[in-house]
Symmetry: C2
Subunit: 346 residues, 2 copies
């Protein structure tokens, strides 16, 4: 069945959002005369005196970073959400607005400026996972926080303004759009089957074995059937966990290990420090139980043909819906052809 | 009320999609050390021998363009959708896919390589509007076409691979995601009030007069209350028209006129050929009546602070929902401070 789909324009259904994506596999032959990006060389300096995230340096907001050796978090100096926002609401005819409270944090993954996840030791990535877990728990304890979005923008073309290895956490009162969509679909399936939608999907993927990238005792990395970005990937825990707060210490390590393996494949694909935005989708912490939720992490990498040609999600994609050229199976195959050793170590 | 919103983080509701957008007006003070884009100078050559869209030249697909003098359309040489796709459908457990038929066309706005909409004469833009109208009607006549997406990607940073003034039309069998969302909201309002949702919104905006950019006898251009992109704008016909096929010839001209005025403001803002993706949202042509629909055109321009610093819709935006820094009112004010004369003519 899949093979036929490698040749014809088709739509695939995203079981988690209920939305379709257009796939045009025959379109890869299109010549590219458009914009190209600079190829990023790997960073060499472990400490950059001009970097506001390196240990001991002064930040843009004026504070000085401690001389940290493990992952280091702080409240974003230019936070999009604030904890002390006063309540305002607008409800005038067709104009509707509401003030929003939240806390935005920055998580430095490592004191070493030159690193990125694929180049870090599993042990040190485990420390990042533990930090996410701790932050998730602490933020959720705040009464006014009902959802915690952990994410990383990697690479200048993903809007990252500082190459020091870091991610962000934006937590807020209301449940964001993308989470509402997934909550709906998870709940629909759970109500009908009393099983995890993503758990059942994972079983089917492991059997089909066409889109699996990595697997260990506790996690699987795969290209989802409905992938939007050319080399989109997803990390799914085998156990039906609602959020990262529930990770056992074995699972923390297994998560770190699969993170490293997946991001090495990414870097090796075009021999570049592979840009992406990644994010963890998990149950809201709104005081309710969410047995329907199954946490997962997604990677949305923009590169399409090489280190310098990316996929543009523009006109058609903005106004109609997402469109991709290569199929999920072709993407998985390309990624699985990569060496498990980082190209810089060859 | 609006003024208070200029200071606090808040969410605004998009009445057309039912989704919220996060606004962080206090965040504009954030320093930018990230990626910058090249400033685009205006093109000077009216004919480029290497351009595959100029009259008389050979296209990437091998065909030769006629020596056209008015807008010229042809079927995309590397179309994402094809009219002769055979029917396939996958329905295996949680994997769901369907083949999709369609027709993709390219519309050259002018034979003059150096032009863009703001630099074209109203008469010549009217010819473009007439071409959209004709294409819409012809594509809709095809049994297998149920929706027609007209759009333009302008500028290399919007994935446009050829600077010749042109747009595209992708038409297809299924109704795309963004249209489904709007159809829902239009229908909900229509069923309750027997009036156009967008018509009522337009009245409220004209009264408030805080986000209006341009107005003529038949059209209004404004920054929608729920704008996502920094300088997002919308063109709305005053008459309750479901699709561009219903435009009178007076309306065609008024549409062209407001298109020119709006895009001049855009170009003048940062004295650059302002990049954007624009698109027309209109009723599906699926054989049903759509009295609920009110056609409109939106512009999604990425520039934020200058000709070289754009807004990145990345981590938080991809995983949670759209976020913007300046408010819709601030954006409208900035645009309205611009001269009505194109900066190149000063
Ligand atoms: O068709 P073009 O101009 O070659 O391509 C451009 O517009 C398309 C439709 O929005 C996108 O799918 C492409 O990513 C973009 O580069
Ligand atoms: O917070 P940063 O890294 O300065 O900014 C980056 O990530 C944010 C969250 O996805 C985006 O809103 C910004 O557009 C992007 O440049």
């Amino acid at each position: 069945m899949e093979n036929k789909l490698n040749e014809v324009p088709h739509r695939r259904y995203n079981i988690l959002t209920g939305e379709w994506i257009l796939v045009s596999p025959h379109r890869t032959k299109r010549p590219w005369q458009g914009k190209t990006e600079e190829k990023k060389e790997l960073k060499k300096t472990m400490y950059d005196p001009g970097c506001y995230l390196c240990p001991g340096n002064e930040r843009a907001g004026g504070e000085t970073n401690p001389d940290y050796s493990k992952p280091f978090t702080f409240v974003n100096d230019f936070a999009a959400l604030l904890s002390d926002t006063k309540e305002i609401s607008v409800n005038e005819g067709l104009l509707k607005a509401e003030s929003e409270k939240g806390i935005c944090k920055v998580v430095c993954f490592s004191p070493d400026h030159s690193l990125t996840l694929p180049l870090m030791e599993v042990e040190d990535i485990t420390a990042v996972v533990k930090t996410w877990k701790k932050e998730y728990a602490e933020l959720c304890e705040q009464d006014f926080i009902n959802y915690v979005q952990i994410f990383e923008n990697k690479g200048a073309i993903m809007g990252c303004s500082n190459p020091h290895p870091h991610g962000q956490i934006w937590s807020q009162s209301s449940i964001p759009t993308e989470i509402l969509k997934k909550s709906d679909k998870f709940l629909e399936y759970w109500s009908k089957n009393s099983r995890s939608l993503l758990g059942d999907y994972l079983k089917q993927e492991l059997e089909a074995d066409e889109r699996i990238l990595e697997e260990n005792e506790h996690f699987v990395a795969l290209v989802p059937y409905w992938a939007v970005w050319p080399f989109e990937a997803m990390i799914i825990p085998k156990r039906h966990l609602q959020h990262i707060g529930q990770l056992s210490s074995d699972e923390e390590m297994a998560y770190a290990e699969i993170l490293k393996k997946l991001t090495i494949k990414f870097d090796n694909l075009f021999e570049t420090s592979f840009p992406y935005s990644s994010g963890i989708h998990q149950a809201p912490c709104d005081g309710k139980d969410h047995p329907e939720w199954h946490f997962h992490m997604s990677f949305y990498p923009p590169l399409l043909r090489s280190a310098s040609v990316k996929k543009f999600m523009v006109g058609y994609e903005m106004f109609a819906g997402p469109q991709r050229d290569i199929t999920a199976e072709q993407a998985a195959k390309r990624l699985n052809e990569q060496s498990p050793v980082h190209y810089s170590k060859h």
